[in-house]
């Protein structure tokens, strides 16, 4: 049965850019393992002829025509932005990347 280790949890949290305290790490490791146990139980009854589901509705090909609609007015965008400069969203400096 698959279980998640504390290290794996810390790794996944870092990828998701979530800061966890020590207490939270312990708590979520325990809780996630309950979920993994449930998934493991489901896996015991899944056979290869059951396709994986990514969507609860039996639908395919929901498509739209290639038609242009108006843009949101710039003043409305600016009003909703935390910081805006020269018509662009202002974001904090991006570190550790190039």
């Amino acid at each position: 049965m698959s279980t998640i280790t504390r290290d794996e949890l810390v790794h996944v949290a870092r990828l998701a850019a979530i800061d966890l305290t020590e207490a939270e790490t312990d708590q979520f490791a325990t809780e996630l393992n309950v979920i993994l146990e449930a998934v493991a139980r489901v896996n015991t009854i899944v056979t290869p002829d059951v396709p994986a589901t990514s969507h609860p509705l039996p639908m395919t090909n929901v498509l739209r025509d290639d038609v242009v609609i108006p843009s949101i007015p710039l003043d409305e965008i600016e009003a909703g932005a935390i910081a805006f400069e020269d018509g662009k969203f202002l974001v904090p400096q991006i570190l550790g990347e190039e």
Partner: protein, 499 residues
């Protein structure tokens, strides 16, 4: 500290290069991939955006049918199999050019897979590049870094983001490792991307202008001691944005890898940046667990299962591919390999094709486009197809020459008139009064005068020396300001001399 480079010719003698290329092609739909915001280059920042491409909460994407059709068309043109059913996936990463913190892409279920592209190299040889997959995804926005050195992230105080490009439909085409190119790996890489560009244009899914970022290439390279050895460690040079740069990037990385391997060190798997100014690359970030994008199926989009009948309809509507067309025209026109290569490199293929379609021989069409017109284009530093003359006008011009209405020399004057915007060739001939003088009376007068000026010519010709006839023709042409029909002038001269 970078190791010194091994000269390219030396490196490829001792190592076998393997390349892999990822190319993003922007699709030229009217609206974006998942919303109705206009898909257009330029414009004021953030003026082609909707709630969906800004990633606002509570919005739902809906796939653009035309984007799907273009992706299928491109997949078919790359000889791929179109997936009977496929899904989108979320590629998760944190960067402000992606407002949702994930890019909607495709992971293990691409729309198209297992194809190939036949690439015609500079010497006419065909090289087959294997295609692993072509998948649909959305483009990201654009960041401008403020306060750092020359707009780079390093040292920037903050960044500004424009989402006009966010959500523009892309197809990413990924090759399998391209083996067997040997010392021609740089050329194969360049020609492959050029061929993709030509295909995308031929099937009308993208303008595919590399200088505008509508085609973007990432180039992977690894070396191995022999073609039988397992693949070496690769590096990926990002966003190589011109055809020349693709060739330079491969050459540089071959030389660099060879130096690293010669020194007994391992090559680091990393992303590298290309520098246009000197054709070098420098290390970017090392591949790390930051590349763990935690792909998972996109729950906001339902699977895509293109109707096989629709796929077949798209296949049936595909035009002739550029390589086949070139081969067909090469044969039909009867050009030598070198002539054909020059025509292709000059961008004259379409122009000559259209000119011959107006009834001109391939030889005459080539003479105009590769001769006089190439010279004029070069002088003005413009592309041939930007000259102010159409293939139809060249056809009309050659028609006037063939009919004897004008001669070659006047033809060039007529061309000047057309280029100057004086109208079609027939109109220019009328306006400038450039018709060939074929009125025997006027010509005879000029011939008599010319012969009178050179009395010894008559004796020489009578004695069988035809050489001086050319000088008399020249004098007549001069007297008639080049408007005489040279063939008729010659006939008249000989009639005069021989009685």
């Amino acid at each position: 500290m970078e190791t010194a480079l091994v000269p390219y010719e030396d490196a490829v003698k001792r190592y076998d290069p393997v390349i892999g290329i990822e190319v993003h092609v922007e699709l030229s739909t009217k609206s974006k991939m998942f919303c109705g915001a206009e898909n257009t280059a330029g414009g004021e920042p953030n003026t082609h955006v909707t709630e969906v491409c800004l990633g606002l909460p509570g919005t739902l994407p809906v796939l653009n049918r035309t984007a799907l059709e273009y992706a299928i068309r491109l997949g078919l043109a790359l000889n791929c199999t179109i997936a009977p059913s496929c899904r989108f996936a979320r590629k998760n990463y944190f960067y402000p050019d992606i407002p949702k913190n994930y890019q909607t892409s495709q992971s293990d279920e691409p729309i198209a897979s297992d194809g190939y592209v036949d690439v015609i190299l500079d010497d006419g040889e065909t090289f087959r590049v294997p295609i692993e997959r072509a998948h649909m995804e959305e483009d990201a926005g654009k960041n401008t870094h403020i306060g750092g050195d020359d707009g780079r992230i390093h040292g920037a105080l903050y960044s500004l983001v424009d989402y006009n490009r966010a959500g523009v439909p892309l197809v990413e085409i990924v090759t399998r490792p391209i083996e067997g190119a040997g010392d021609r790996a740089p050329e194969v890489a360049r020609k492959y991307v050029e061929t993709l560009r030509d295909i995308a244009r031929a099937i009308d899914v993208s303008e595919a202008r590399m200088e505008r970022g509508q085609v973007r290439a990432d180039v992977n390279l690894s070396l191995r001691p022999t073609p039988e050895s397992p693949l070496g460690t690769r590096t990926e040079t990002k966003n190589v944005n011109s055809f020349r740069a693709i060739e330079s990037a491969v050459r540089y990385e071959v030389s660099r890898h060879a130096a690293v391997l010669d020194s007994g060190q391992p090559v680091f798997q990393e992303t590298r940046h290309f520098h246009e100014e000197d054709g070098s690359t420098s290390p970017g970030r090392a591949k790390s667990d930051a590349d763990d994008y935690r792909y998972f199926p996109e729950p906001d989009l339902v699977p895509v299962a293109p109707d096989p009948a629709w796929v077949e309809e798209i296949r049936a509507g595909l035009p002739e591919m550029p390589a086949q067309r070139r081969a067909r025209l090469h044969k039909a026109w009867g050009y030598t390999d070198a002539e054909m290569r020059d025509v292709v490199n000059a961008g004259a293929l379409d122009l000559i094709d259209a000119t011959t379609a107006s009834g001109v021989t391939a030889a005459a069409a080539r003479k105009w486009w590769m001769g006089e017109l190439s010279r004029i284009a070069k002088q003005g530093d413009v592309a041939l197809d930007q000259l102010n003359v159409t293939p139809q006008q060249i056809g009309e011009l050659q028609g006037l020459i063939d009919a004897g209405t004008i001669n070659d020399k006047i033809g060039r004057q007529v061309l000047d008139g057309v280029l100057a915007g004086e109208g079609d060739p027939v109109a220019v001939v009328d306006k400038r009064g450039l018709k060939v003088v074929s009125d025997d009376g006027a010509l005879l007068e000029a011939v008599t005068a010319a012969l009178a000026a050179e009395p010894d010519v008559v004796d020489k010709v009578k004695a069988g020396n035809m050489g001086p006839v050319g000088a008399i023709i020249g004098a007549v042409m001069k007297a008639t300001k080049g408007q005489a029909d040279a063939k008729r002038v010659r006939e008249l001269i000989l009639e005069q001399i021989n009685g």
